[in-house]
Structures are given as structure tokens and as C-alpha cells.
Symmetry: C2
Amino acid sequence: MMLVSKESEVDVLIIGAGPAGLMCANALAIAGVNVRIVDQRPSKVPAGQADGIQPRTIEVFQSYGLAERLLKNGNQMHMAAFYNPSPSGGIERASRAADVTAPTARYPYEVTLHQGAIESIFLDSLKAHGVVVERPIVPTSLEISKSEEELKDPNARPVKVVLKHLDPPTNAGDSEIVHAKFVLGADGAHSWVRKTLGIALDGEQTDYIWGVVDMIPETDFPDIRNRTAVHSNNGSCMVIPREGDLVRLYIQLADRDVVDPDTGRVDKSKMGPEQLLDVAKKSFAPFQISNADGHFDWWTLYIIGQRVATQFSVNERVFIAGDACHTHSPKAGQGMNASMNDSHNLAWKLVHVLRGWAAMSLLKTYELERRKYAQDLIDFDKKFSKLFSGKPRTDTNQDGVSHEEFLDAFQTFGLFSSGIGVHYLPSTVVANQHQSVASKLIVGERLIPHDFIRAADARPFNIHDLLPSDTRFKVLVFAGNSAEAAQGKRVQALADEMARPEGFLATFGRGDHTKAFDVWAISSAKKEDVNYIDLPPLFRPHWSHVLLDDTDMFARTGGGGYDAYGIDKQKGAIVVVRPDGYVGIVAPFESLGDVDAYFAAFMIKG
Amino acid sequence: MMLVSKESEVDVLIIGAGPAGLMCANALAIAGVNVRIVDQRPSKVPAGQADGIQPRTIEVFQSYGLAERLLKNGNQMHMAAFYNPSPSGGIERASRAADVTAPTARYPYEVTLHQGAIESIFLDSLKAHGVVVERPIVPTSLEISKSEEELKDPNARPVKVVLKHLDPPTNAGDSEIVHAKFVLGADGAHSWVRKTLGIALDGEQTDYIWGVVDMIPETDFPDIRNRTAVHSNNGSCMVIPREGDLVRLYIQLADRDVVDPDTGRVDKSKMGPEQLLDVAKKSFAPFQISNADGHFDWWTLYIIGQRVATQFSVNERVFIAGDACHTHSPKAGQGMNASMNDSHNLAWKLVHVLRGWAAMSLLKTYELERRKYAQDLIDFDKKFSKLFSGKPRTDTNQDGVSHEEFLDAFQTFGLFSSGIGVHYLPSTVVANQHQSVASKLIVGERLIPHDFIRAADARPFNIHDLLPSDTRFKVLVFAGNSAEAAQGKRVQALADEMARPEGFLATFGRGDHTKAFDVWAISSAKKEDVNYIDLPPLFRPHWSHVLLDDTDMFARTGGGGYDAYGIDKQKGAIVVVRPDGYVGIVAPFESLGDVDAYFAAFMIKG
């Protein structure tokens, strides 16, 4: 018999406290949204699992003020190495290269840190905002109202979820009915939410079977601290150095011995970490590798599945994110990154709708932007897995994968796999009609990080640090050479026009536009000449908001920003950055009306 | 009647919990020394007081892992500005320049943060190491044993101090007899310890009288966020921007009205912050400056005294540090810096003696090094104060200070005032006979910060971050081009020689030389070629200890280190860095014997 102990209301209910769910919960909690997050696991992941954080994801962490701890506790992979069969038997190094090949990456490396440590970063941030993950709890039913009226009303709570407490003993078995405005299913590859909604997965399981071991190695292999791809005639391995002295080995398994013929799933009773290490040892010869202390921090076996959910939401009321939407191979280190970036994309949209600032239609852009990305990810993964799992080319195997082919693919895919190259197509929130005024700041891609100096005190800042994920649209007025008289007048005219009652600041600003819009001025004038107080007050809500495209006092950083963004140093441009850090629209001063129209397409007057 | 409630023993007793005392307590606590620190104030400084942290001091904070919070909470001064009388009356900007003029500064700016916030950084670190400042407590007597034998024995406790508790009421008036091995008097300009020891101050009071106000200004003055020197015909001011929107103004007072003729001291009842601001307003004209919220965060009046204690210790058993040893003007932002660097210099020496690693004679180098510095500081202050307080040169006052003269002095003194140029003269712990093998790494100065990459994973590090103030001597083996065969042999030969039983590692290593010596290898080979495992194991106690003088994968940093240090890229050199970050000796491989002799001069076998 089901015991129903209470009935409650919440704005957003998140099911699943893995990386996707936690990223969303944290973003909502910081924004002050009424949110709950539940998970079926009694505690966070203790070790192993996903562990690679890509350059773009580090930028996203930084936008929430969370990168510091990630960088302090994690390992950084700067260099990749490639080993191939040697003519004398065994393997030899073919080359070394940068691990990350995205030139604009602010953090030009991947960070590795076990999933539990990453979850802890979010859990501590959530706690500081008064949110605790409730666990162990499972959902047992989910219903969405059929009322069109309710579905259209952002203040309605059309989703009814029944939650069942599994622990502690005092309320085990208790159930609770939750009425939510929105629900996010971030409950993993076997997502209960996805299945309950009847959303199908497109794609299939592959033939690639891999083992993973985490351990502290004893070895004479000189690239054990680099991301190293080992292609040998005795199988393939990938070395992923981890926090402290830990190393992860991904080990290709040559046959299907570990698969249960009845279920098609991997049977972990058929092989243990010692046997996996024995397989790896054969690939590493003539180098020695063993387990320094006999302890395996974590291990697993898996078959790669490559699937994407056919839809990412039902009625923009229940969403799915992360592994619930897409599964793929872990070797390119994409899984956790894709998951967290899904909910980073969704969170600000939910906040704007919940606050009554944006129309419900804004939420449609989540599936539009993230499902396209997931499909690209699977395509990438298919090519990469095939290359990685393929036999190396040798004299006797001319059909094999050559080193050049592999290296070329590694570098071609680098922009994508770093997350830096993620590009959202034109939509309500991506308007690229004036792309040419900021030719290198691609609309639909993340703002390129760059160091500018503050006009008032010449202190350098990476612009990313000034534009956090605080749910505000960032309005960057690239003022051109504002110290020059004619341009100074154009800048003042723009300020006057932007301040009109019909302009977007007044129309959507609800009496204090600084809540939803954060305005900055970036001048191309030089630090010796410019006075921050000469910029129009609208563009400097605080003395700190006037930036210069100039070097710091020691010329160690800064300068070249207009060039890096492809903006004319005399004329300037308006750049609107979305709350998630992606460029929404760029426009010349003369086309301020198009910026007004951009916001009018999804924002609500008030 | 005095109540004596207990009698106790301690290794080090610190009297005074200002910046000098806290720096020492923290260093000793981290090293695991038995230390107590007492202060007469019931709580830490709430606002105002000293507030400028110089570039070298930031490096020292970083060496204890404390810079992060300082940089996060403090304001950074990157730019200086200079205003002089304008031909049309009032003032006008003469020029802007870098605030810091020391090109090797790792942090090329000064940080401003109120003294209480700086003390908090230490208090929290101390707490994490189990040490709490005991307060309010005053010493009432101090005696040093006359026994030569006791004074020579580092394990004896020849100093007897009586402490009196002032609060809480439950034990107010209680006294305690403390027997200490060493005592540090860090009890300020009116030091009870100094007076009790009968140590005189050399020097005198000046005629310069200044007022200070801390406030949030409302102003059209364009350099309010820069360190700005205002010379007007209506007096001089210095602008020091502070944390948040706070600004400090140092205001020259034109007459001696505020001095009590009987005591010669400033009488704070004669002038308040409003009057000080009125004086400042006259200097700032035609710019407007007022108090934005009517609140003054802090204010004071003072006459500059310029004095140095005749000795810094008695029998190397009781030391004085900070304001207890030297007083000077605050405008160059030196006071707190000199104080903390005094005890940073002393702390590791105390630790080595207390552990039985070094001879008592090592402690003599404290006065040798820091008193010379204090004298230089007073000389600097005299020149700087005179220039700053002098009338500006104008058509009618040709004897005044010209802008060029002031700017020139500002830049000449920059190396000194940044703390970067501090140079300890040759002594037991500063041996410069082989200076030429590292021609730019001046023996007796702090190790120049530089980015190197780690051979095993190409990750860049500033070498300062790898060499913390952990009481160990850092032995840096600049291995030259270790990938080249002949040099590889030289490096191996050096390792063999360094491992001899007669060598310093074995002689002073107490069975595990890594406790007192931290060995690193720095190769000039390139990251694509070098394998960290090819360096001799003695030089890589851990895989992370092999560095390369090469750029990171994106050529954003690193490289040029051998050149920056003036070390031959083929032949290399041995560099020994003291526990406080100062270069102790440099030597060619062939002169390892001189390195042995360096340590033998003050270390104890075992």
C-alpha cells in the first residue's frame, strides 16, 4: 500500500543529481528560483565514472564562480601523445601534440577529476544557496495536464509527479505528490523520465567493447602523464592521467567474451581489473606498466551505444537532459560535458520564463539548440570511435588506420570536442543578420575570451570574468575610439537612442533595466588618454564598467580585442551576449532597431 | 596583588598580533612549531590603518598559500597618475605611469585592503593549524637568563615572560609565567618589548604632518581609481583607491595647528575628517570631490617619524620585528610590508634552529639582513617624503619640486618600494662567489618568478608556486640540454657526486634528505623530445619534479627561463633557494663542493 504523506508545490523539480541535474539546480538556485532536486542514489558518486572536463565546460564553471576549485583539485591535460607499432616489435612514440586544438580556448587543456569531486563542487554551491539534494528518492508517476490553458500559463503547475522515499527507515515508502511548473529529467542513460514520457532513442549499440581501470601506475612509459593513444598490434589503449598520481586506462577488448549472449549486455563477472591490466600490458610492450599499490580506484566494462532521444521535451513543461538524451563513447571525454552544457543552456531560459520576462516560446530553443548538438556529437563519436578502435596500418595491414589519418582526425575534431566550436543555429535568440560588424565573433557561438583593461584603473580582466552566468543579457557597446571628438558624438547619440522609452532597455526593463541587462562600454582609446567619466553615464552604471582595448601597464596582456572580434576600431559595434555566454546578436550603431527587435521576439513588455 | 595562576613552557612566544606577529605565527604554525601569540587588543583591527601590500609581499603571501584571498578581496593599483598646478589655476594631469616599476614583479601592482582583512587571512590560516591569538593579554615582565650555557643551548628556555590577562572578567588580572626558548616582540611603534630590552631608536621626528580619510567619494576626478599624487599650490594629496568603492586620501597639512605644543604629538581633537576633506577639496580644484554617503570608514592625523632600532635582538633569544624596529611615513605603503617581511625572514631560521638542523649562529643573520633593509627604507623615505611634501615648482617658485624630478624619483625608487629589489648582503646564508653562472639571478635577492613547464605533462607553472615557504632549501639543478648525450653524462655525474655520503644531502639529510632539501631538475631540452624518466632519479623524487624551459602547447607562456636567469643553456648550473625564497648560492656543476661548504657553514650534521 502506498502511503501519501504530503502534497506540495515547486517551481522546478529536477529528477537526478548527476552533473546535468546539479548544473541546472545550481544555476536555478543562484538565480533564486524555487527548485528541488531528488536522486535515487543514497550518496554522491565515490570514485571513477566520468572524469573529463573540456575547455568550454571550464569556462562555464568559471561563469558560475566554480572553476577555481575544479582547477585546483583536478589534473590538467596539456599534451597528447601517439604511439604506434614499432618496426622492431612493440610500440614507439609517433609524435606529441597539444591535447586541445581550439586556439581561442581560455583554458587550453582538459581537466580530469572524478565525478564525485565534480558533484561536490555543485553540492557545496547549492548548500550555500540553501538547496540540498533529497535522496534516496525515486519518482513513481508523472502526469502532464492536458489543459491547453494550463500549459500556456507559466504560473500554472501542470506537472504532477509522485515521489517515493527509499530511506531513511523512518519515512521509507512514504510518497509525496509534487505539483511543478517545470520538471527536468536528468536521470541518466536509463532515464525513467524519458521512458515514462515515451520518448524513443534513435541509434544503435556498436561492436566496440572497452574496459576501464583507474590506478596509480608503476611504469617506465614516458607519456603516462599525457593523454596518450596507444595503437599496437596487440590492441588499443588510451591513457588519461588523473588527479594526484592516478591514471585511467581505457583498454580495447578484442573479443565479445565479456558479453552475455542472452542480454547483449556486458557481464562484469567475466573479467576483473587485473585481467584488464594484463590486456593493457600487452599493448604497452616494450614498456612496463603495473599497479603501484595493488589498489584499483575504480573499474568497469562497457559497450559503446550511440543514441539520441527523438525529442528533448514534452510541451516545454518536462525536459530531459544529459545521458537521458544522448549516449556515446566516453573516450573523447564528451559525456559529462554535453550533459552539463545541456542544462546550462536550459537554466536561464527557465529563469526568464518563470520571472515573467520571456515568453514560453523561448523554451523551444532548448531542444533546437541542444538536440542538433547531440546529433553532431554522435556523428563525431562514430568517426572517432572507428578510427580509435580500428587496427593500425602496418606493412601487412594496408587497410588499417594510419598515424596521419588519426592525428588529422584528432586535430580536425578538436574544435568540436573542446566544446569551443559549439554553434547554435539562427533562432529567436540567435540573430546573425549583421555578422559582418563583428566578423570573428560568431553569432551563436560563445563570446571569445579576451583580456581588456579597466579604464578607471588599468587593471586587466578577462571579459569572461566580468560577464558571469547571472541570467542577465550583456550589452557590450564597443565604442570605437571614444576619445576622438566625432566618434564621441556618435557614442553619445547611441546612448541617447538606447535610452528612448521605445528602446529595449525601457520596454523590457521593468523600471530598472539593470536587473535584466548589464551594459558595458569598451573603448579602443588608449589608457594614457581616456577618462572613464567621458563615456555616457548609461554605458557606465559603475566606474568599473568602462573597458579599454589596450595592454596593461607592463604590456603583459590585453590589447588586440577589436581585431580578435573583427570589430572596426573607429566605428565600433553593439554586441549582445546571452546569459549563457553565447553571442545573441551583433549590430552597427545604426541598427539599434534590430537589437530592439531581437529582444521583442521573446521578451515580454514590462 | 598579582595572582599567578599558572606557569608554562613554549618554544616561541610572540607578543603582538599585528601583521609582523601574525606572519611569524603563521609560518611557525605551518611548520609545526610550538608557538603562542598574545595581543593586548581585545579584537583585530576593524578598519583603516595600514592597507598597502607591495608586489614582493604578495609573492610572500603566495608562498604560504595565502595570496588568493588577498587578491580576491583587495583592490589592485596598476596605474599611477600625477597632477600639478595648471597655468589656468587649479590642477591638471601631468602624466600617467605604471604604479609598479619593477619589471620582474610577478604581481605588477600594489594591493590595497584594510589591515583587519589582512589580519583575518592570517587568523583563519592559524586557526586551521590549531593556533588562536590569545587576547587581551599584556606582558608585564621579561627576563633573559644570564647563563652562557643556557643561551647557547637551543633546547633551553632562557626567556621568562610574565603575561597578564585583561579579560574576560573571569580571569582578568590573572598572570602567567611563560618560559620560552625564543620571544618575538612584534608589539608596534611603542613596543613594550623594545623598551623593556632597553633598545634605542636612531632617528627623529619630521616636520611633515598628514591627515588620512577613508571614504566612498562622489567625484568627477578621472584618476580617483589610480594611485594619484596631487601637487597643487593649495597643498599635496595622495589618492589610494581601496577595496570596493573606498578611496583613501592622504592630505598634507599646511601648519602645525594640530600639534599639541606640550607633547609634540598630534592632537586629534583639533581636526576631524570633515575638516581634512575640506583641505583636500582645495587641492583638487577644479575637480569636485565629496563624501558620497557622509560616512568616513576611518581617519587619522600623524607626524612622520623616521627611526630604526639600534639592534633587532638580544642574544638571539628575544627579537623585535615590524614597527617595533622601524617607523617611517605610510605614503609609500611600506610599513606593513617591511613588518611582515621581517618576520618572514626570521621564521624559517627559528624553525631550523628549533629542529636542531641549524646552528644558533644562523639567527644572527636576521638583524644583519633586516636592519640594513630598515636603514635603506628610512633613507628612501626621507627622500620620498621631502619630494612629496615639497611645494611644486612654478614660475614664481623655482626652488619647488618639478614634475620630472618627482616622476624620476618615483621610478628610481620603484624597485626598492616594490620590495623586489631587496638585496641581502653576503653572509653565512648568502654566498655569491659564483654569481656569474647565473648572472641575472642575483644571490641575496628573491628568486625571479618565471613560468616553466612540467616535462611529464607540459603543464606550465610559475616556479614560485612550486617552491613554497615550507622551510626546505630548494636545490634547483639547471640541467642544461639534458637530451644531448654529453650533457646527459655530466648531469648523471653531478647526480652521482651529489649522492655521495660526504655530500650535503647525506651529511645534513638525517636519513631522508627530502625533509630539509627539495630537489628539482630544470632542463633546457624541448617538450617534444625529452622524457622525464631520462633524468637521474635523485633529481626527480616525483614525476612532477622535472621542469623544462620551454613554452606551453599554445606558446602562451614559458620559455626563456635560462636567459632570464643568465644561465648557460648547454652547461646549466646549481641554484640553491633559501626557504624564504631568496637565492642562497649559485654554482657551476664543477663547484658542488662550494654548495657543500655553504650548507656546512650553518647546518648541523645528522
